[in-house]
């Protein structure tokens, strides 16, 4: 198995009740500002951690790099396989790869800084991490992104890559970042062409 194309795609509505309760596929949920968004419904099924570590989403980015979470993730999703990741993770991976090319250096995504489920302790509100559409980058090359200069420099670079890229500004308040660069692509729900969206949500 070499690319995301080889991963099975599953309809979240057909998962076990336990997993559905954690991933809440297709459910409406509100962000911090009260705007409502629908959670992703279709997921790649990741059968083992070794597979996630081997599978390259882009020439340089392994799937595992966008899946690292800590003990704040729901135990079922943290410790048991298969894991499920929204299909939009491939778009995020392409964006991170583009950033790598532009920066000319490796891009490091923090733990809890790629995909995290709606059941993760940091998922109090809807945010693009739950869509696998956000990356918290803590380091590029040898530069740790914990200064205003570094965050603004690479934030500007990220904005140049795509108009849909949203970058949080440097600062200490909610909605700002001071120890990483938050980049997201909004709330993208990717439905692979072979998937059927009929059925109850």
């Amino acid at each position: 198995m070499n690319t995301a194309r080889d991963l099975p795609v599953v309809d979240g509505l057909k998962l076990s009740a336990e997993v559905r309760g954690l991933l809440r596929p297709g459910e409406a949920t509100a962000d911090r500002a009260g705007r409502v968004h629908r959670l992703p419904r279709f997921f790649y099924e990741v059968r083992s951690w070794s597979l996630a570590k081997e599978l390259l989403l882009t020439p340089h980015l392994h799937l595992s790099e966008l899946l690292v979470v800590d003990c704040r993730e729901a135990p079922r999703l943290l410790e048991e396989f298969p894991h499920y990741v929204p299909c939009a993770v491939t778009l995020l991976a392409r964006f991170v790869e583009d950033l790598r090319v532009r920066a000319g250096a490796s891009v490091y995504v923090a733990a809890n800084g790629g995909y995290r489920s709606p059941a993760h302790a940091l998922s109090a509100h809807a945010d693009p991490h739950q869509w696998a559409c956000a990356a918290d980058v803590y380091r590029i090359g040898d530069t740790f992104l914990n200064t205003q200069a570094a965050i603004e420099k690479y934030g500007a670079l990220a904005r140049e890559i795509a108009s849909e890229a949203n970058v949080l500004p440097y600062g200490h308040l909610p909605g700002e970042c001071d120890d990483h660069l938050h980049i997201d692509l909004g709330y993208v729900r990717l439905v692979p062409a072979a998937c059927d969206e009929s059925g109850e949500i």
């Binding site: 690292v68 800590d70 003990c71 733990a111 803590y138 914990n146 001071d178 120890d179």
Partner: protein, 295 residues
């Protein structure tokens, strides 16, 4: 004066003379010997800035949380060098070059197990690991564990280098009596179950900073010391349990306070000197059967 009290006078003289020579502002010593049942206390209720000795309280709270099933020591935590002040929520960051374990900063962005964080918090006195564990457990949880164990003299109110809390007078505090009580509660398995107690001491026995209590013991004693030091510009502490072959262990806590700005080595030597004097005192106490139970 009773025989044990008279026998302790040279030890007291040594402590006071050491304090005078080292220009300490204050000193506290507490001893409990399980072999002879001798206890010794000087200034043991005096309150000191805890410095890194507070990490003992954090370790106790972590192991208690693991016992209660609220955490698992194998689970992993995001290593992030960003904390919020307990005073007002303002963010603060630690500096690797002011930390006992700069290596953990290389793991920023990744994850580490709670057990690994606990080990480096004690063995290398990592401030980063300490703050991560305090944040994960919560100061209220740590306070509750200390209260439940009857360790009211130990106060863990904030993480390390939380300047906003410091400026509001929120400081971690200990007394020699309080730290001695913590070691007693652990050794006697009153605060933790035996397997957690053993884990506690296993971690402390790996201590890398051995310039105080262990340094004062004769090599021939073949002592193993499960201990935790604490040093900032104004205090220099060591607290631990001394295990000697063929004999029950003893607990020793030495807390010292100085004017800001002195060198570390002479302060370490002063604590080591007190440790040596306590060892000699307890050796004599055992020889004299000072506290021998009435037949």
């Amino acid at each position: 004066m009773s025989e044990p009290r008279r026998a302790a006078l040279p030890l007291l003289d040594h402590i006071l003379e050491t304090a005078r020579r080292a220009q300490m502002l204050s000193v506290a010593v507490a001893v409990h010997d399980y072999a002879s049942e001798v206890q010794f206390a000087y200034g043991a209720a005096r309150v000191f800035h805890a410095a890194s000795t507070i990490k003992l309280a954090v370790l106790l709270a972590l192991l208690k949380a693991a016992e209660d099933g609220r955490v698992r020591l194998g689970e992993r935590l995001h290593v992030r060098n960003r904390f919020q002040s307990q005073a007002d929520g303002t963010p603060f960051f630690l500096q690797a070059d002011r930390d006992g374990d700069p290596d953990l900063y290389k793991a920023v962005g990744r994850t580490a197990s709670l057990h690994a964080l606990a080990e480096t918090m004690i063995v290398r006195s990592s401030n980063l690991a300490t703050n991560l564990l305090i944040e994960h457990l919560g100061v209220a949880t740590i306070a509750a564990v200390l209260a439940e164990a009857g360790l009211d003299a130990l106060r863990c109110l904030r993480g390390v280098e939380d300047e906003a809390a410091f400026s509001q007078g929120l400081n971690n505090q200990v007394t020699a009596e309080g730290l001695l009580k913590l070691f007693r509660a652990l050794h006697e398995a009153k605060s933790l179950r035996p397997e957690s107690r053993d884990r506690f001491f296993e971690i402390l026995l790996q201590q890398r900073f051995n310039g105080m209590i262990p340094a004062g013991l004769p090599e021939s004693a073949k002592a193993r010391v499960a201990h935790k030091t604490g040093e900032i510009s104004t205090v220099c502490h060591d607290a631990g349990m001394v295990f000697l072959p063929g004999r029950a262990p003893y607990i020793l806590v030495v807390l010292t306070e100085y004017a800001s700005g002195g060198a570390t080595a002479p302060r370490n030597r002063a604590v080591a000197s007190i440790s040596g004097a306590v060892f000699a005192f307890l050796k004599d106490a055992a020889d004299l059967h000072l506290a021998a139970p009435t037949p």
